[in-house]
């Protein structure tokens, strides 16, 4: 069809495999600690118990979709209180803005589930297949029994982690111990199995196969983050003014370069021109340690890049090398753009707190705190008893046989206690009106534990009373919990014959 000349270049870029090398250091230790904590929270939380009385679930954190309740330790959220969830999401959003403007992609590098699970999967890979060089060899070699054994072992281990991840998720939505048994005895709902299967697949594919491609191609957050960062944002950078020109160091070169006497130089038996070169070389010995440990497969020495999740592993790798060759640490380190300018011109660095405390971060913190305080206040002032009143408008009023005018109201009574409560219904009005509740002799109705009851309430104006003939009379419907004596009310109106 087409000749080689008019064949357009391919737009497809195949993934280049990445083999992150094992590294140790303070940031690596921090990441291990965060991994243990975050995974621990994720897997353990559904199993925590919290006593709420006999009629409510005893799971500490539970999203009860069937009954439309969200339980979080001592807090219970009803559907009409969804603003708490919305508020938490807003706080999460502003929190990300805050951390990004202060510390760059610190969320991506340390706590994002994609990063944490990928880290875990790479750890498993290294345990089974060996470190970087062994893994590269394994990739290149032919498929023999050993390669099959290692690969299959790795995939099975990944799959077990993936199943545990997907499995843990569904425990947040149902009683964990019951569901655990049901899952294994094939008694659980199909939705549970579908969810487990779906999350198992995404965990396996994202953590095992796609890894950094999720961050580079799929995740929108890195694109947004660029707008959050400025010249004061502390991020991972390479001090090229210290490191360049990079080159291999010879033993003793440092000392040779430091010596001024030509005789001494000869004593080290190094040719004059090489000494010159060594004198001009920067601290970077081009050992590629920073590149080899990078889970994103980039070279931090190229400067800030879209792919960089600022996981700081390159800092650990480089510090280790600097220690070995006797150079100061920090060739790669956390710094802001303004630091770079200062260091280039020989000025001292700006203190870290000046980077952190600036108008932008203070504004984000204030916003974040304002939403948080608002939510906490709302949490404490929200009532355990509440009503809504919907006057029945079809018909507006009913004439009774003795000429009484009666209005009907659909009253929803909410009882957030874990036990049945008797609610007394009463009214206040400038007119002499009488109230009755359907199915109740004395105006008291039992509202079942943790539920809403729809109650028909009748309000009557005696025949020939002013309220019976007036178009509209003000009316307030009250409800009182006769156990706790809490009260709630709603204003509404009474409609007469409008003569």
């Amino acid at each position: 069809m087409s000749t080689s000349e008019d064949t357009p270049p391919s737009l497809y870029a195949a993934r280049e495999p990445i083999f992150p090398k094992r590294v140790s250091g303070r940031f690596r230790n921090l990441k291990w600690a965060i991994m243990v904590v975050t995974l621990g929270i994720y897997y353990v939380t559904p199993w925590l118990r919290w006593d709420r009385g006999p009629q409510l679930p005893d799971q500490a954190v539970l999203v009860d979709l069937a009954n439309r309740r969200f339980f979080f330790f001592w807090i219970e959220i009803w559907p009409h209180e969804f603003y708490f969830v919305a508020g938490l999401l807003i706080m999460a959003g502003i929190g990300l803005f805050l951390f990004t403007s202060a510390l760059g992609r610190v969320w991506c590098g340390y706590t994002c589930p994609q990063t944490v699970w990928t880290d875990l999967f790479i750890l498993v890979e290294r345990w089974i297949e060996g470190d970087r060089n062994a893994r590269i060899r394994l990739l290149r070699q032919k498929w023999d029994a050993r390669k099959v054994r290692l690969r299959v072992t790795k995939w099975i281990t990944w799959m077990l982690i993936a199943v545990a991840t997907g499995g843990a998720w569904v425990f947040y939505f149902s009683d964990a111990p019951t569901l655990f048994v049901d899952l294994f005895t094939l008694n659980a709902h199909a939705a549970a199995y579908t969810t487990v299967a779906l999350l198992t697949a995404t965990t396996f594919v994202f953590g095992g196969l796609m890894r950094e491609q999720v961050c580079i191609y799929a995740c929108p957050w890195p694109r947004i983050q660029a707008a959050m960062m400025d010249e004061d944002t502390i991020t991972v950078a390479y001090r090229d003014w210290r490191g360049e020109p990079r080159g291999k160091h010879r033993k003793g070169a440092a000392r040779a370069a430091a010596t001024t006497h030509a005789a001494d130089k000869t004593a080290f038996a190094m040719p004059e021109d090489e000494v010159q070169t060594q004198q001009q070389l920067g601290d970077c010995i081009d050992c590629n340690a920073c590149v080899n440990v990078c889970p994103m497969g980039i070279d931090i020495r190229d400067g800030q890049q879209l792919e960089c999740i600022t996981c700081a592993l390159c800092i650990d790798a480089c510090d280790e090398v600097m220690d070995k060759i006797g150079k100061p640490r920090g060739l790669i380190g956390y710094m802001a753009l303004t630091d770079e300018e200062h260091e280039r011109s020989g000025q001292p660095r700006i203190p870290v707190w000046k980077h952190i405390f600036r108008a932008r971060t203070i504004m984000y913190t204030a916003l974040w705190a304002a939403v948080g305080v608002g939510l906490v206040v709302a949490l404490f002032i929200r009532p355990d008893l509440s009503i809504t009143v919907a006057p029945v408008r079809n018909p507006v009023y009913v004439t009774m046989s003795d000429g009484t005018i009666r209005n009907t109201y659909d009253v929803r009574l909410r009882n957030k206690y874990g036990e049945d409560r008797p609610y007394a219904i009463s009214i206040t009005s400038p007119a002499a009106l009488v109230v009755e509740a359907e199915g109740s002799e004395d105006g008291t109705v039992i509202v079942p534990a943790d539920s809403t009851k729809l109650q028909r309430v009748y309000v009557m104006a005696p025949p020939d009373s002013p309220a019976a003939s007036r178009a509209v009379t003000d009316l307030t419907i009250w409800v009182q919990d006769t156990v706790s004596n809490e009260r709630a009310s709603k204003d509404t109106v009474f409609n007469g014959r409008a003569e």
């Binding site: 497809y12 980039i298 079809n394 018909p395 009913v398 009774m400 046989s401 000429g403 009666r406 009907t408």
Partner: protein, 295 residues
């Protein structure tokens, strides 16, 4: 710096479509592979779909598809599932005495909700979606405490089951007010209408006429409507001494009612609704606000 990206657009010999607008040329790049394969996959899927599901129009109807799926069949299955799920509580609804349903909160809740659905489907056409009836047409208001045939839940249940003045059910509620236009003179009708007008305590429109009508009322009407006009629900005779008028309480309407009589009808529902449906809708109507409880 050192990293090089392969940018396909760096090559200047990219083929173009030959289209050119204001010097802007259109690249003739191939579709992305993932896009192309997805496209092919949808074609394969589409063909398979038309085989498995109803698709191709034929002369009468359409191909039914190998899986035998139909939305109607789906609905039928859904309904059967719902009925099976409610079988147990429906059984309870039928076996518990009507007067004892309110004592069981769950059963009562179910009966009221189910009854509301039955009501909306079968009753609201005449009695109105809010159950306020239609006075001009003589469809009774079900919200008030005035009942032609009795307002206890059992009486309501009987009325719903057998209906009123119909040929379809031998046990239908039945009564027949004479057509007084053929029995009384016009003057007597006017007099008795004036008298009936005052029974619920209203001032007479014409005191002489009203006084003159009392004798006729006691002779012709009191047998069913009672001497004080309080009516008799065993006979379906409405109370005339209260504030509620089925067809209207103004003088002209009363004259019309006496002259031509009224024969409102209601169909029997026992053959069209299940026992549970009738028990539920009787409970619902009884709890609309006017239900009578016998002590």
């Amino acid at each position: 710096m050192s990293k090089t990206h392969k940018d396909p657009h760096d090559k200047q010999d990219v083929q173009t479509t030959g289209h050119s607008w204001d010097g802007i040329e259109e690249y003739d790049n191939p579709m992305p592979r993932w896009w192309l394969y997805t496209f092919y996959a949808t074609i394969v899927w589409g063909i398979g779909y038309t085989i498995a599901f109803p698709a191709w129009p034929m002369i009468s109807g359409a191909t039914s598809g190998l899986l035998g799926f139909s939305t109607r069949g789906d609905l039928v299955a859904d309904l059967e599932r719902a009925q099976a799920a409610n079988a147990e509580i429906n059984e309870r609804l039928v076996s518990v005495a009507l007067t004892e349903i309110p004592d069981d909160p769950d059963l009562n809740q179910y009966a009221v909700n189910k009854g509301a659905a039955v009501y909306r489907t079968f009753c609201s056409q005449c009695h109105g979606s809010g159950a306020a009836g239609v006075q001009a047409a003589g469809y009774p208001n079900l919200l008030d405490d005035d009942w032609l045939w009795g307002g206890t839940v059992e009486e309501i249940h009987y009325t719903i089951s057998h209906g009123i003045r119909n040929e379809d059910d031998i046990d239908a509620r039945y009564s027949e007010m004479p057509v007084y236009g053929e029995i009384l003179s016009d003057e007597e009708i006017e007099q008795v209408a004036h008298y009936a007008y005052t029974l619920n305590g209203r001032d007479p429109l014409d005191a002489d006429m009203a006084a003159a009508g009392e004798e006729t009322f006691l002779y012709e009407c009191a047998a069913c409507h009672m001497e004080d006009g309080s009516g008799n629900s065993d006979l379906g005779a409405p109370a005339l001494n209260d504030a509620i008028w089925l067809y209207g309480g103004d003088y002209e309407t009363i004259v019309e009612t006496v002259t031509y009589s009224r024969y409102g009808v209601m169909p029997p529902w026992q053959n069209r609704l299940t026992e549970a449906d009738i028990a539920a809708v009787a409970t619902y109507v009884h709890q609309l606000g006017g239900g009578v409880t016998e002590e």
